[in-house]
């Protein structure tokens, strides 16, 4: 059997197993529970499941391709990924349980739902859902592209890129429509086993194979590639200390309200599962050092990769040094690293639309119809991302630049709004418009980083200033509901205690 056939067969077997696992996960639960079961696993996932699911979301095909590519191109700046994820988990220790309790108390399934509830305006939820979808679609497209590149590479080119894209779309869309969040958590288990095993193997094998061990590898890097080892990294990149600090800070705050993270939070059985997760999830970040270092190892083995090709730094090493079956297994790990996050992204888009947009249509009010409508949206969103992968790849790459920084602009409206009653609808909305406007302006004029600082944090500062100014300049919103109905609080670590001390929440 040729190398391509071996690697492709292994890949095919695992893809079938993935879909089967998704079906198995929801066996006996199909049809019951409606939107809540599908979108947040009936709020019944335990600590371990939430761990693998959230670790799965954060460890995407970017980790295999982009992290190695950044390591190859720039070096040290890529460590911002580890920095913001670790800091983000720390923020999540407080914010996760808070959002979880808020959603459970009011029967909500996502951030758009929360915003609609907080401000008492369903249309605001719909507007935010549309905005969030625009910011999420590029991620789906990036995963489709990432998985396509992986599939094409491990089949040694026998599956063309265009077919590989379609395969990525078909497997993921089919999978998520039938299985929902619970199935994604199950596949995350399979994926984590493969990811940990393959990265641990590569971490040992590659330095031994090419450099006779880590000692020589690091010696060579320190001697020959010093530029790569400190900020701002190689080739006079724009990613200096100020950029590293502001990006880590902004992303750490944004990641806790990112719709996919929130989907993980809301799936938890109780608040303590989330707190314990905040302890163990950062440990997973140690694994991220592997692709980063391997990307730098590729500098010596396959020098001269430029542009998008640098994303293949890690896979060039793999296909260059390993037999076909091993290439196949590593390809499966990378492909599952696309499928799981992509599934959760699609699920979140479906849920947001089902709950916040389509529910405004009276005909779609019942739970089962909401679920069916959400699943339809998933297929449409996936198709849209696939079409754009073929027809307008550059547009989406541009959009993906503003995704994270754009999503950050929801911070005042959502998080500040949930702890501070006075923040008015008009204030929060004005801030959001200004923030998103500034992000788009700076990114599209290629001024990100601006003055060495992350453009999103500049926009967020303006966003917050406008939100506060408009709020104070106008009379308070006339909303008769009591604070306890509108605001969120971190559920007390003591489950039995009645939350009497709500006075502390305003300053949280």
């Amino acid at each position: 059997m040729s190398a391509a056939a071996v690697a492709t067969s292994i890949f095919g077997v695992f893809m079938v197993a993935t879909v089967a696992l998704g079906l198995f996960a929801v066996r006996g639960r199909g049809g019951q529970g409606g939107l809540t079961e599908w979108s947040v696993g009936g709020r019944s996932l335990g600590a371990v499941f939430i761990w693998v699911l959230m670790a799965g979301e954060s460890y995407t095909s970017f980790s295999y391709l982009g992290a190695a590519g950044w390591g190859y191109n720039f070096g040290a700046p890529v460590l911002y990924v580890v920095a913001y994820m670790s800091c983000g988990y720390a923020v999540g220790y407080v914010v996760g349980p808070m959002l979880w309790a808020y959603a459970r108390e009011h029967g909500l399934v996502g951030i758009t739902d929360m915003i609609a509830h907080r401000y008492g305006k369903p249309w605001l939820g719909a507007v935010v859902a549309v905005l969030a979808t625009v910011f999420l679609l590029p991620y789906i497209q990036l995963q489709i592209t990432g998985m396509g590149v992986v599939v094409s590479t491990i089949s040694y080119g026998s599956i063309s890129l265009n077919w590989a894209y379609f395969l990525a779309f078909a497997v993921t869309t089919g999978f998520v429509v039938v299985s929902g969040l619970r199935g994604s958590a199950w596949v995350s288990v399979l994926k984590d086993v493969l990811v940990i095993a393959t990265l641990a193997f590569l971490a040992i094998y590659v330095p031994l194979h090419y450099f006779d061990g880590y000692g020589h590898f690091f010696d060579r890097i320190v001697a020959e590639k010093r530029d790569w080892l400190t900020l701002p990294g190689s080739g006079g990149s724009a990613y200096g200390t100020a950029w590293f600090a502001t990006t880590s800070l902004l992303n750490a705050l944004t990641v806790v309200i990112f719709p996919t993270t929130v989907a993980g939070y809301l799936g938890a059985r109780n608040a303590d599962a989330l707190r314990r997760n905040a302890i163990w999830l950062p440990a997973y970040n140690v694994l991220l050092f592997v692709p980063m270092l391997l990307g730098m190892a590729a500098l010596f083995v396959v020098p001269g990769l430029t542009g998008a090709d640098s994303n293949l730094a890690l896979f060039k090493l793999v296909t260059d040094s390993l037999p076909a079956w091993a290439v196949g297994v590593i390809g499966v790990a990378a492909a599952l690293s696309s499928i799981v996050p992509m599934a959760v992204f699609m699920l979140v888009i479906g849920t947001m639309w089902g709950r916040s947009v389509l529910s405004l249509v009276p005909r779609l009010h019942s739970q089962s119809r909401q679920k069916a409508a959400s699943q339809t949206v998933v297929v449409i969103a996936g198709t849209l991302a696939l079409i754009m992968t073929y027809t307008a790849p550059n547009t989406l790459v541009r959009l993906s630049l503003i995704s994270y920084e754009g999503m950050a602009q929801l911070l005042p409206m959502l998080l500040l709004g949930l702890v501070w009653r006075r923040l008015s609808l008009v204030g929060a909305a004005s801030g959001l418009v200004v923030g998103v406007g500034i992000v788009c302006a700076l990114v599209f004029t290629e001024n990100d980083p601006v003055f060495g600082v992350n453009a999103g944090i500049v926009a967020l500062a303006a966003n917050l200033a406008v939100a506060l100014a408009v709020t104070w300049a106008r009379p308070a919103d006339a909303d008769p509901r009591p604070d306890t109905e509108v605001l969120a609080s971190d559920p007390d670590p003591e489950p039995a205690e009645v939350t009497s001390g709500t006075s502390g929440t305003a300053s949280a």
Partner: protein, 67 residues
């Protein structure tokens, strides 16, 4: 909230390690077990973050037990 749960301050540890310390740790030497200093520092921070989160959690547990 901080007054009632002062152990939440442990959660600032990763911010100090990853962001606050940047100006002092952005260097190649000294090399730690062969690892360039900046990478060694970031790896240490990654290992210490779970410890900080654990201390926070333990504080919450003690608060629960104490009342």
């Amino acid at each position: 909230m901080i007054r009632r749960r002062p152990h939440l301050l442990w959660l600032l540890v990763p911010f100090v390690l990853y962001i606050g310390a940047l100006p002092f740790v952005n260097r190649v030497e000294p090399v730690v077990f062969g690892l360039p200093f900046f990478f060694a520092w970031m790896l240490a921070a990654t290992v210490l973050t779970p410890v900080a989160a654990y201390l926070t959690w333990r504080g919450d547990q003690r608060m629960r037990a104490g009342r």
